[in-house]
């Protein structure tokens, strides 16, 4: 009957073929609440329901694997930690050239570079360890390692890009093109954090995190500073960007933690 596609097929007919009929079923003895069988028992519905159950179980595993507040909190702390390093860190000035009334120099923020490299690598190690610990305590494994590896790789790529650009800068002392400025913002530590978050959102099939990461990247790339720091001088101009970027991550961390707490069964 099933191979005749012209015939009207209903699920009860399919169930008859799919499932092993138990002679005790008509009198209600097919499966007591404490039954102990490993035979193929009725699946409790049609193929559609089996698939729906599988999707629901997969969704619940993904929820159990998520510790979204952790990376956002750790990375916010790293960004806030960069503020004093930017303020008091050592800068190496070279290749000064006269332009108009003043001069333009190449500045290598030595301490800042080492801070970002060390702090971000450490942050991703802490995030991966924390994620695995929390997820395993819940009884599942986490999908965090590709995220941590991507994060570290992007940090390395960003600094490699900056080093090559400074060395080969063909237009110096002119400003780099808009595209190069966009690329450098994307690969700078706050931008690289956002790109890595996109990877985490994809790994976890997490739509809310995807939207958050896109919003964060918009803030980093535009960049939005509400006019703060425009005349703050060379020692504090960076503060608004770092405060806003870190603040967005911190708020996101609080939001995801709250959402997770509300969703948890009481």
């Amino acid at each position: 009957m099933l191979t005749n596609m012209n015939a009207k097929i209903n699920y009860s007919a399919i169930d008859d073929m799919l499932l092993i009929r138990n002679p005790l079923a008509p009198i209600g003895l097919v499966c007591k609440p404490v039954c102990m069988t490993t035979n193929s028992v009725p699946a409790g519905g049609d193929p559609r329901r089996l698939l729906a159950d599988a999707r629901d179980l997969a969704r619940r595993v993904r929820l159990a694997q998520r510790v979204t507040w952790l990376p956002l909190l750790v990375l916010a702390l790293v960004i806030f930690g960069a503020i004093p390093v930017h303020r008091y860190g050592r800068a190496v000035v070279s290749d000064c050239q006269a332009v108009g009334d003043g001069q333009v120099c190449k500045v290598w923020l030595q301490t800042v570079t080492f801070y970002w490299l060390a702090a971000l690598v450490l942050a991703y190690v802490v995030i991966a360890g924390g994620y695995l610990r929390v997820a395993r305590a819940r009884g599942v494994d986490a999908r965090v390692l590709p995220y941590a590896v991507t994060g570290v790789a992007l940090v390395g790529l960003g600094f490699a890009f900056a080093a090559v650009w400074v060395r080969l800068h063909p237009a110096y002392p002119e400003d780099p093109s808009a595209f190069v400025q966009f690329l450098s913002r994307l690969l700078a530590p706050p931008g690289a954090i956002g790109v890595a978050l996109l990877v985490l959102a994809w790994l976890e099939r997490h739509v809310a995190l995807l939207l958050f990461a896109l919003g964060y990247l918009t803030v980093v790339l535009v960049p939005i500073n509400f006019g703060w720091g425009a005349h703050w001088g060379p020692h504090t101009w960076f503060v608004p960007h770092l405060v806003i970027n870190g603040g967005v991550l911190l708020l996101g961390s609080a939001g995801f933690a709250l959402a997770q707490r509300l969703r948890r069964p009481r």
Partner: protein, 117 residues
């Protein structure tokens, strides 16, 4: 039963998908175990028991069937003083789950096609 090289798509025009269903996998609880293990990569016995709402004995029997069929690996260890049992999907388990899902989808497609005619 069809040969191992055939995929459900290949059989679209020949045998009905129901003929290729694997009795080990085509069972609500065992399909649930494989789905969770696939998504979680490694899953703890207690998590499976809670999610599938089974007794420890019942879950153990289903796991034993899957382990005998080579679809999962069971690893016992400790977390502090507590004994913990972790279940991992094997490559064969991964393939069997993918096959089962594909066949279920094909079956639904056939039913919908037939109902539409």
């Amino acid at each position: 039963m069809t040969g191992p090289a055939d995929t459900p798509a290949d059989e679209n025009e020949s045998a009905h998908p129901v003929t290729g269903l694997d009795d080990v996998v085509h069972q609500r609880v065992r399909l649930g175990i494989l789905t969770i293990a696939h998504e979680a990569r490694r899953v703890e016995f207690g998590y499976l028991r809670t999610q599938l709402e089974l007794t420890a004995g019942n879950l153990s029997q289903h796991l034993s069937v899957l382990e005998t069929a080579g679809l999962v690996e069971i690893e016992k260890g400790y977390a502090g003083r507590r004994g913990r049992t972790w279940i991992t999907l094997t490559a064969a388990g991964n393939a069997a789950l993918a096959e089962e899902i594909a066949r279920l989808k094909l079956l639904i497609t056939r039913v919908e096609t037939a109902n539409g005619q």
